[in-house]
Symmetry: C3
Subunit: 337 residues, 3 copies
């Protein structure tokens, strides 16, 4: 694509004006003359000097010297994502129902739907327009999928689960399996509580590979609009996650916990059950949240504490053996007095 | 269902006697007049005043004022589970072998079995009576499934694995994949040790979504009767878990560890290999168990310590920076003396 | 097998020379007269006295009394693995393409390949010689599999992913699903960055059940030759892992982290993104690595610290409440002076 056209598409200001064919997008240290790259973080500005890219997406007010033309934009990182969309369009599945798909009774299928080989769809399922279902997905009876939703292979959507529009589900995700609910009897045996609630996934949610989201005992487990869930995350029955939150890899939420909007839980964070985690909370990797948190919390550690306190605590922690020695010395001094 | 009939079925005492049609079960704060709900924990008694339910399952000796009829039972939480069973019976798969199922040589299939679309069953497999196998399960050669066992879609049962009666396996579970066993050679390469043992799952075990239970190197990995395993749990080769234990979400057991009966491992607990974890042990969330534990242990933290000690330690932990300051102050005082 | 033949095959010295039929391999405390067993670790030497085995694989210079013939070898643990290979050969899938496999356009298939039921292979896939693909695997377009590679059931190989020779993938593994890449906009919404890179898995890598390895945003995620990855591990986009490293169960690597050669990350270790973890590093279970580590590091704890320091810190940790009391006592003494 001519760089002038690319600038127009990305709403970028080309500086200086030039003619150049751009064929791809690459990281700043791998880009060749036919690639564009991007620079957002000023701390990587030193990489510019060796940069071989044809052009660089930068902020509007960027003013360092550069070895190649600049594409000035309001939001270089977003423009980078958009450039990838332009240069690497996905290869869609053909919009057909593969002859090997097994479709139940009373299934409603929208227009321009692609259903891959060996997909199994139960009775009373509703599938919106432009939905893509890759091979080997199983959709149990009564589930519904909104428009423009994409399921990669081996996804399981259990009975009655509802997915909104523009939802993306990566491979191996299980939505709506039974929650972990048992009554422990006086003799120590565990009696299963049937899990007859469901899961609701709102619009524009993405859920990544092999993550599990359990159906509610009664009522629903819910993920709010625009929330993104990474791989191997566990969301237990009756949890709710608000809008535009990020749950990173291997996070685990125990039952009935309520996570707010714009929350970020870093990798391997765990939250106990029946908690409320306020809007905008950020929890560092491996945090163990065992109490409810007000909006805007910044926490780390286990049990979760204020992130700044935690930084001081872990700095001192390594000094603990020294501290013991110093204490002993003081005790000796005082006992000699 | 008439409440009088419901009372009979749940072995409940209706107080006061009344006529009322009950159509469902709901949480105490969502129940409508046609629902029953339950109250076990006295700390939620305040919710009674706004409760709209038609009737409430309570303990036999419950004596607080209530806005609606009571159903007095010995075990309200169990009666709640039983009420869900009554009002929300599962929709079984049809008892047929789907024509797309691929069945190997010398497979024995019991009566009233349901085998879904695209199930693949290897040679010499034994399937008991009233077994349900949802679509896309793969059962390798020589495995056996006891009576009344239920496999949800995408379950893998590897070669020679034995499942008992009334076992429930949720979607995406892998039972009997190779254990992580390698001989590290002097040159630093890792030579695979063939994993030729198996896995035995005893009666009434439930294993939830995307959990993995590895086959033994030699001998067997075993889960005892009535044990319940949550989502995304990792049980390594040659582990044994006793009866009626609970392994919560994302727990990990390293190889050859022996877990007793009635053990509870909370979410994200990890146990090192070759340990013995005694009967009735309870480990708090994220505990790292690096030594064997006697029966009845209550542990938390990493490395695991007595739970009460841990509570005191983590309470002090936040004071560590203050403690350092106080120590420095004392040192200064003494050096001035 | 006659023990003399077994000795020859294992390059072992039989001491004393004897005639005996060996039929299997068993752990030292379960072996019967027709089994061989092995003893590597001298701390288990006391188990010899009750050992019923027909013969024992031991080190060349072993000199304790034994109740049965010895098979002296250079590397008893390796010989144990080789003995298992001899006595328990795997049952291969028949080398055929199952008639239910759905194969795309322009797929190249090598010689002696076994493709199981309901396998789905996209366009332009390359499959080497002697490859085995168990039922229900899905291989997206443009992927390639090297010679002698083995995929167990329900494995997903996404578009363009490259697997080397002699790679083993256990059930439910997802290689090449989209990385967790989003641009957070000023309004707090997250815009997906298309993940158009790939994953490269080098020769002799093994990846175990339900592990997920994400494709790169641009470029590649790579696992080096001979590396072994346990169950439920998460490897994020653009990570590289070197050669002959071990990633144990439930390990998580955040994006763009570089792990060296011969690294061992024990169970539930997490590493933050954009780190470099040097060759030969060993991290204890549950370590949280939040900074780059030089080659040869030995770390534990969170944040990761030198393993020996950590051992001292956690030993002192339990004393923290006592320490506080002692400090208070000193303060009181001094304030009374």
């Amino acid at each position: 694509m001519e760089i002038v056209e690319l600038a127009t598409r990305l709403q970028a200001q080309l500086d200086p004006m030039t003619n150049l064919e751009i064929l791809g997008v690459a990281p700043i240290d791998q880009a060749q003359e036919s690639d564009i790259t991007f620079l957002v973080n000023p701390k990587y500005a030193h990489k510019l000097q060796d940069c071989q890219a044809g052009a660089i997406l930068v902020n509007e007010d960027f003013d360092a010297p550069a070895p190649c033309p600049l594409l000035r934009v309001k939001h270089p990182y977003l423009a980078f994502a958009q450039a990838i969309e332009l240069f690497y369009p996905p290869t869609p599945l053909p919009t057909q129902i593969h002859p090997t798909a097994v479709i139940g009774q009373n299934v409603s299928v929208g227009e321009d739907v692609a259903i891959g080989a060996y997909v199994v769809i139960g009775d009373d399922v509703v599938i919106g327009h432009r939905v893509t279902i890759h091979p080997h997905c199983v959709i149990y009876r009564g589930a519904s999928l909104g428009d423009d939703t994409l399921l990669h292979s081996h996804v399981v959507i259990r009975e009655q689960v509802k997915l909104g529009n523009q939802v993306i589900i990566q491979n191996g995700v299980v939505i709506g399996a039974d929650g972990y609910g048992f009554v422990t009897l006086p003799n120590g045996q565990h009696h299963k509580i049937p899990q007859v609630g469901t899961v609701v996934i709102e619009d524009q949610v993405e859920i990544q590979a092999n993550t599990t989201i359990d159906r509610a005992t009664l009522g629903e487990t819910r993920l709010g609009k625009g929330t993104k869930v990474d791989n191997l995350v566990q969301i237990a029955h009756n949890c709710t996650v608000g809008q535009h939150s990020l749950l990173c890899g291997q996070v685990g939420l125990a039952g009935s916990t309520q996570v707010g909007n714009h929350v970020v839980l870093a990798g391997q964070v765990g939250a106990a059950g029946h908690l409320s985690i306020g809007d905008g909370t950020m929890a560092g990797a491996k945090t163990g949240i065992n109490n409810s948190l007000p909006a805007g919390s910044r926490v780390s550690g286990y049990p979760a504490m204020d992130h700044k306190v935690w930084l001081r605590v872990v700095a001192e922690l390594k000094q603990l053996p020294q501290l013991m020695k110093r204490l002993r010395k003081l005790e000796n001094q005082l006992s000699q007095d």
